[in-house]
Each structure stands twice: as structure tokens, then as C-alpha cells.
Symmetry: C2
Subunit: 417 residues, 2 copies
């Protein structure tokens, strides 16, 4: 008997039949004596349909009105799921974010949760009801509807679990857990039974799409025991089996004692590299280059500056590939002359590959094994950046799959720890 | 410069292009210096889509959850309309019923409005904004979403107009006003420039679909000047012309001095007739028959009891045609034996035709002209019922069009009063 939060994505809610399956799965947990809170996403395709409609009306939709519209997808979902539960004899009640309320700041389309009132939900749970709460949305201090941005339902679920001090937050998705790397690239990729919060954070930020990064931050901040597991198993499989499936995000490092040094290989092809060569090596140069880029609202990821010997230096950074041209023209028009740069160039055809692992902290030689592996495959490294638990390299994008496979093998990830 | 409420139906909101036209029309009124509140319905088809989805999940949808779902159609509409206004430079803001709030009782799917807080709306109007409020819905005292039932957006608009003491509530529809009868049946049918609240109430209750009957009751109770007019005129037609178009629902009888005795001919084919013959003519017999019918949740419209001479009587009433079989079986199983009725029979193929007019109060001979006209056409009258401003007859349904045309001519309705 525990308080459990389930989260189901848009695919799981994608049709009447699938919603009925979600209800059967939740009913199983409820029948086992758990207090159940469920956070479903909008039916798949619905949020996109609503946003497209808004854009047909107003090219740059007003953020407040966009949230008014986009939030309805989840409202329909909670009503349907509560009905599906009732239809199989499980008492259930649905709430929109504002009814709980899930209080957020006023940043429409990318609001952050500030607090969740648990009074109403607790009363329903005590009365034996399953409580179904909209994901993705909340209400600001003035009673305006806000949304949390793409993937926000993950964050809603974890935040609800935190507010209710739930025993566990189960995120049901169309993958059956977190893998050492993408199985589509490395067939030997292995599901991790556990992953630490820090590793999950790095993997999410490095492009692994399993969980929205803010939900991971939330899980870390409030130490919410969160599990990623498959929504594709039959809804009536044995509960104990289901409860141990997927990947658990943990916070206790000692649980990781038996773990491999490296947990996984992350990668993405979303970035482009820009290099400003031959700039004077003097204080303030980084700001002179990146200031105008930031003012143009372009996010920068990796930044590398390498001082040469002659008083000049090369300065490189990566941006999202969609913003490559924009970033180049900002540099040409606002930066080049003012800093007397030699040349401005770049490459949109790069990939970033990272090894991630909390064990790296106490092990030397990870970087050298990584670099040696890439070298043996003849892959040139263009940029390197490191953190406590991650080493990332930028390489030519055509080598990405090769690099991921080689590293996965080199670090022995196909074998269970 | 006045405070004006506009209401637009689902057809007017049916596509992106149409929503843009609504915005242009509202912008025209706003530009003329009026304070504008707009109440749009859900996009046409949307509410039906949502209800069908709910019924696929739960055969008898839970009323609270159904309202949760059904209310989203209007929430999308207000967001889109506010955006469409902003897109043409008109400051606008949308509110869902709970945000105003529009407070209702707790009767899900058929809630009644209890109060409307005008604070937030007035502040926006004072700031020059157009305020767009969801029709069809409100919030009960516990923060649950409620809906007002089919056609509820008319009621929302009139209620908002009453709460704001609006100068006028304009209901834009796909007809250009209230007619003496349905022009599809009588081509000579004439649009009424004015109609009294009482006449409108009778016409609405008799099946004229122009306005939802509860909106008319609301208009009467709070004396809201309400106009029914066309949404199909070009949005940029001259404002003064538009403001005088359609049909105005009035409350001053003296304005009706020059009016014809009869305002219109209403009709419907929705009913079925049931007759219980040869029942004892004793106190309590009506209750013995109609009590079980009411308990089975079957609404009864006309009721006629005609005492015979031999101590026995025939008792007839009408129900909605969809409930004809159900009503018959209730009578057979629960009533026949207990009251020792002779026979129970009925006819689902009937029509009700009514002449309506506030002038009838002070004029004799209306009934006789009606009955003579039907007689001359060889139409047999099966039931008659009368009120202060209405005479209704039940006839065989194949004669309905003939009766309507003959009565329209007999009362001279094709000529302007």
C-alpha cells in the first residue's frame, strides 16, 4: 500500500482502445491497494493539431492564448481516462491543473511549477478514488492557464509525485527503459536497471529523448524515485514484475557500487559548429563574440577557446543546427570587424558523442580509452568538452554511428554490470 | 459608445477563415467606440466529436467528466478568436467560464447560471480590450466545470449581457432573424423586426430553433435587449445598417401597438400522442397515469382530459417521439391494470401547429379563424391546447405544411404590420 503516480504519454492515450488499456493497468495497481494518481498527456497528435490551428490564425500566436488552446488536449484526456476507469468499476475523478491547483509562474508556453496544493487530491485518495490530473499545465497567480512546454507532462507527473511525497513515480513510455545507447544504432545496447539522477540528467541534455530534462531536474531536486518503463506490455501482466521493470532513477550512489564506470553513450546530430579564427587573445573576447549571439536569442552549447602562441586564438562553439545560418550572419555583421577576426567559418555536419557515467569520477583513463577508440577507427575529434560525469566530443557526422558502436564495445556496455 | 455583447454560433466559428471574419466584424464595432464582449460557441462539429469520444469510452458518460471534456471546444474557440482579433491589431483577451467566473449550480450537463463576477471583465474593457468569454459553461461552488446544455452559449451571452448591464446582446446566427414561420415551408414568410419576449418564449418552446429557450427566459428575467441577426452578411457592412437588422426582442408592449394580432406560426414534428381510453372519471386519475411516466423520466408536453357522460373519460398527452415506445410500455406494465383502463393507444405520426401572438390577448376570434381555416383545408384537429398568447393544435403530420401555409395566409402574415 503506497501512494503511486503513473504518467502516460500521448501514444498510450492515442485511441479509445489504448485509453481503456491504460485504465486496466491503473485498475490493477488500485486493486493491489495503492493510492493512485495518474497524469496523462493529450491524445497523440492533438497538441500539434491545436498549435497548427493557432498558427493559422496568428503567425506568432499570443502566448497566453496559445496556452488557453493547447491545454485543452490534456483536459480531454483526463476526462476520458476518468470515464474509462469508472466504466470498469474504479471510482475516479479528473482535475485540470487550475483545479488542483498546480501553481506556476507567468511564463506562458514554458512555465515553471511553483507549488502544488495537495488538499483536494488527498481527500479523493482517502475516499478510495483514482485521481487523474492533467499534465503539461498549471495556473499562474492571476488565474491564467499556463503550459510547461513540450514534454511538460513528465515534469507534471514528477512534480505531483514530489508534492504528494509519492513512493514512486512511474513514467510509462513507448520504450522499456533507459539504454546504454540507442538500440537502433547498437543492437547490443542493454537496458539499465538503474541509473543515477546525474547520469540521467546528462543523457537527457545530450539528446536522449526518454524523459524531458526538466522532469529529471525536478526528480533530483525533490528526490522523487522515478521509473521509466514500457506502456506496451499487456495491462494485466503481473504487478510485481511490472513494478521491477524498466529503469529506476536513483539518488543513492552506494547503490551504484557494482555498477560499470560508464552507464551509456549519448549522441546527437542537432548541432552545428562555428569557429572564429585568429582573434586577439585578450580579456573580453569571449563576450565580444557570444554577447551578440545571445542577444539574437541563439542558444550556445559547447564553447572551446584554445590560446595559440602568437597572441592570437581560435574560438569555437556549437549552436542548434537550425540556427547555424542566423548565428553566422550575426557574427559577420556585428562581430567580425569589431574584434578584427581572421575568418569566420563553420560546419553544420557534425555530431556530438558523449560517454556518461557517475563511475568516471573515481576512475582515470576513461578519456584516454575514448580517444584511443576513436583514433583506432580513424575518426578525427574536432572539439572536446568534459564535465564531472561526461566526456563529449564533436566529430564529423557521418562517423557518428561508427563512433557510438565502437565506444559501446570499448566500454563493455553490452555486458551487464 | 455602449457596452455590447456579441454571440457567434458554431457555424460562424467553423473554420479559420470564418473566425477571421468574426474578428473583422467585432473589430468594426470596437473601432466605432463600443466596449465589446464576445461569446463564441465551439467550432461546428467539435462538441459532437467530443461527446462521441466520451460515449466510446463510457456508454453513459459520467456527467462531471463529460462536462470536463465538452467544455474544451469553447475554450479553443475563445483562444482562437482572441488571437484573430490581435492579428488585426485589436487588443483582446479570452476567459474560460471558471476564470470570469461564471458561477453555476452543480447540475452537470444542464447547469444554471447563478452569478457572474464582472470585476475582471470590466477592468479589461476599461483598458480598451475586447473580452472573449466561453459560452456553454461555468464553474460550480466547488470549482468543478459545468456546462449549460445544448445551445447554452445563447444563454451564456444573454447572462453576460445581464451581468454587465450591456446596452444590447446581439446573437449572430445563420438565419437573419425571427420569421412569421419557417420560410422553407411558406416562401412568403416575413422577418419580424420586433417580437415580444413572451412571443419569443412561445416560439422557442414550440420548436423554433432560432434561440435556446433558456436564453429567452434569461433575457426576459433581466430585461436584456436581445437581437437575433445574420452572421452571413459581409463583416464590413455599414455598422448602422447591421445594428438595425435582424429581429429585436422587446419588453415594452406599447411598442407593439401597430403590430399584427398574430406574430407567427410555429410547428414541430417531434411529438407523439398517447391516449388512454375509457378510464374512470375520478380524482387522482391524471396522477395515476402520469406519475409512472414522470418517474421513467419521460417529459410530457400537452395534456388533455375530456370527461365523457357515462362516468368514464379519455386521457391524452404528448411525449417526444423518441420516447413514444418507452411511454407505451410504462403504461402497459404499470398503469393499465391499476386504473382499469379500456385501451391504450397512440400515434407517433402527429404534428403540432401553433399560432402565437401577444395581440391575441385582446382579440376574439383568433381561435375560430384558426379552426375554420383548418376545416376548409379538410384537416382534422386531434387535440387543442391554449395559453394567453398561443393556440396549439395536434394534427396528422402529413398535413403539417398545408396547415402552416394556410394559417400564414389566413392571418395575413405575409404583409408587414
Amino acid at each position: 500500500m503506497a501512494l503511486i503516480v503513473h504518467k502516460y504519454g500521448g501514444t498510450s492515450m492515442g485511441s479509445v482502445e489504448r485509453i481503456k488499456n491504460v485504465a486496466r493497468r491503473v485498475a490493477k495497481w488500485h486493486a493491489a491497494g495503492h493510492q493512485m494518481v495518474v497524469v496523462p498527456s493529450a491524445m497523440s497528435g492533438e497538441t500539434n493539431r491545436l498549435i497548427a490551428l493557432a498558427k493559422d490564425i496568428q503567425e506568432q500566436p499570443d502566448p497566453r492564448e496559445l496556452d488557453m488552446i493547447a491545454s485543452t488536449g490534456e483536459q480531454v484526456s483526463v476526462g476520458l481516462l476518468a470515464m474509462a476507469l469508472q466504466a470498469i468499476g474504479v471510482p475516479a475523478v479528473s482535475y485540470a491543473g487550475w483545479q488542483v491547483p498546480v501553481r506556476t509562474d507567468e511564463a506562458y508556453t514554458k512555465a515553471r511549477i511553483e507549488s502544488i496544493d495537495d488538499t483536494r487530491v488527498r481527500a479523493d485518495l482517502a475516499a478510495g478514488k483514482v485521481v487523474v490530473i492533467t499534465g503539461f499545465q498549471g495556473v499562474d497567480g492571476h488565474g491564467n492557464i499556463t503550459t510547461l512546454g513540450r514534454g511538460g507532462s513528465d515534469t507534471s507527473a514528477v512534480a505531483v509525485a514530489a508534492a504528494l511525497k509519492a513512493a514512486e513515480c512511474l513514467i510509462y513510455t513507448d520504450v522499456d527503459g533507459v539504454y546504454t545507447t540507442d538500440p537502433r544504432i547498437v543492437p547490443e545496447a542493454r537496458r539499465l536497471e538503474r541509473v543515477t539522477f546525474e547520469e540521467m540528467l546528462e543523457m537527457a541534455s545530450l539528446g536522449s529523448k526518454v524523459l524531458q530534462i526538466r522532469s529529471v531536474e525536478f526528480a533530483g531536486k525533490y528526490r522523487v524515485k522515478t521509473r521509466v518503463l514500457s506502456s506496451l506490455t499487456p495491462p494485466d501482466i503481473d504487478l510485481a514484475t511490472e513494478a521491477e521493470s524498466g529503469t529506476l532513477i536513483t539518488f543513492e550512489e552506494d547503490e551504484q557500487m557494482e555498477k560499470a564506470v560508464i552507464s551509456g553513450i549519448a549522441f546527437n546530430r542537432d548541432e552545428a559548429k562555428i569557429t572564429v579564427s585568429n582573434v586577439p587573445d585578450r580579456p573580453g573576447i569571449a563576450y565580444s563574440i557570444l554577447g551578440p549571439v545571445a542577444e539574437a536569442n541563439i542558444d550556445v552549447d559547447m564553447i572551446i577557446q584554445n590560446a595559440g602562441v602568437g597572441g592570437n586564438t581560435d574560438f569555437s562553439f556549437t549552436v542548434h543546427r537550425n540556427e547555424y545560418q542566423k548565428a553566422l550572419s550575426v557574427l559577420e555583421s556585428q562581430v567580425r570587424d569589431s574584434i578584427k577576426a581572421g575568418s569566420i567559418g563553420g560546419d553544420p555536419k557534425i555530431a556530438k558523442v558523449s560517454v556518461v557515467g557517475i563511475g568516471m569520477r573515481s576512475h582515470v583513463g576513461i578519456a584516454s580509452l575514448m580517444f584511443r577508440t576513436l583514433s583506432e577507427e580513424g575518426i578525427n575529434i574536432q572539439m572536446i568538452s568534459t564535465s564531472e560525469i561526461k566526456i563529449s566530443v564533436v566529430i564529423e557526422d557521418k562517423y557518428m554511428e561508427l563512433a557510438v558502436r565502437a565506444l559501446h564495445k570499448a566500454f563493455g556496455l553490452e555486458q551487464a554490470a
